[in-house]
Amino acid sequence: MEESTLIRRASQGDAASFNALMATHERRMYAVALRMCGNHEDAQDCLQEAMLRVYRAISGFKSQSSFSTWVYRITMNACLDELRKRKNRPNTSLDGLLDGGFSPTDAGESPDGYAQRQELRRALLECIRELPEDMRAAVVLRDVEGYAYEEIAGMLDANVGTIKSRISRGRERLREKIGARAELFDRPDV
């Protein structure tokens, strides 16, 4: 069934159409939430909150704009709100992050090589998570999700210049963090 039909039915309160519509977006929504929150538990809460917000607002969705951009904007706002609420909460473990979400490793990779790559990935995720929220959101949407600067500006409700600046500064900080962990990132075998 076409997306426009599902949107129309969902906006009339058809829960089955809503579920079918959002099933095509939930993987990316969850990925955004996971990169923003850094753990599965919070990502699940953000996904649920974002889905509820989409459900409540879908009757007002204007079909002139892209539905996916609209959905990811809501997702990102749900994540940022959730992160603000939990600011004082102690950091949770990143262990769950390595359950999935990375490209499969080469079949010929040695166990040692695999373990080292896992360590690198964990370190990178920690570096991303240490970024301020606005920078993290922009960097995740650009460098992980691959959105254009204009789309990101629409999702984060900022102008393109601001988004480019956030991404540039975010990348610079990530480079500094990588540089500060030279013993890990500079190993010749990785």
Binding site: G13, A15, A20, H40, G100, G101, S103, K164, F185
Partner: protein, 275 residues
Amino acid sequence: MNCEQVNAALDLLMDGELAEDMRRELEAHGQGCPACARAIRDTLRLKALMSEIEPEVDVPLQAQAAWRGAVREAAQRDRRKRLTRWIGSAAAAVVVLVGVGLALRGGTAPESTAKDAMYVAATGAPELQAVEQEYALEESADAQELPSPRMAEVPAENAVIEADGASLLAEFEESADAGGMCAAVALSAPAAEYALTVRDVDAACRQIIDLASEYEGEASEQRLEGGANLYVTIDAANAADFLSAVAPLDLEGRKAELSGRQSGTIQLLLSVTGE
């Protein structure tokens, strides 16, 4: 190229939009500036690491069930609110009608008018009745228990099962632990069969049963040694969406394709095996 220009070039490098001539300038600058050389190297490393992060992630079934459950509850609350609004509007309309009727008749309402007013008050406007009927049907459906993880035990012989008004001849398979009784029902000739290997068979079965319910289907479970067979009866129009929702469970070993030509109610067989 100077050090200030390097930062802008590094963004282009990250975006994969660095022109060849700028790339050469960047490299040339890096050869004479250790700090920028380091920044270039870290950028390339960062770009490589970022590319390994997948833009999509399998959503844990628990998370899928959580958001679907939350949306279902929100939909139910909306229906209750709508009903409450209708009742309020209808009651107000009745009061106004009775008042107008009494005023027009000089304060004495004939018996028939009073009866009509009482009837309207008791049953509401036709629109209200429609909403109430819809609400009652949905509440009734909500109140039904989700398909039981285990089918009721039945004698080990052929039997006729009523489903959606149709009689279906069911074949019973004897369960090893049922002591001569059947623990599950297998309808003949599923439209498609799938095999899943999961870490936790119980959790996976519960989630599949929930998802079947979400997509307006029904699932029955047949316990096996080290796994289970789930027979999902579902409208063909919803089958593909249901399967895509189950896909994060590692839907592998497909034994038969789901044909796009299917229509009406069909049955899917999902064989779940523990790792």
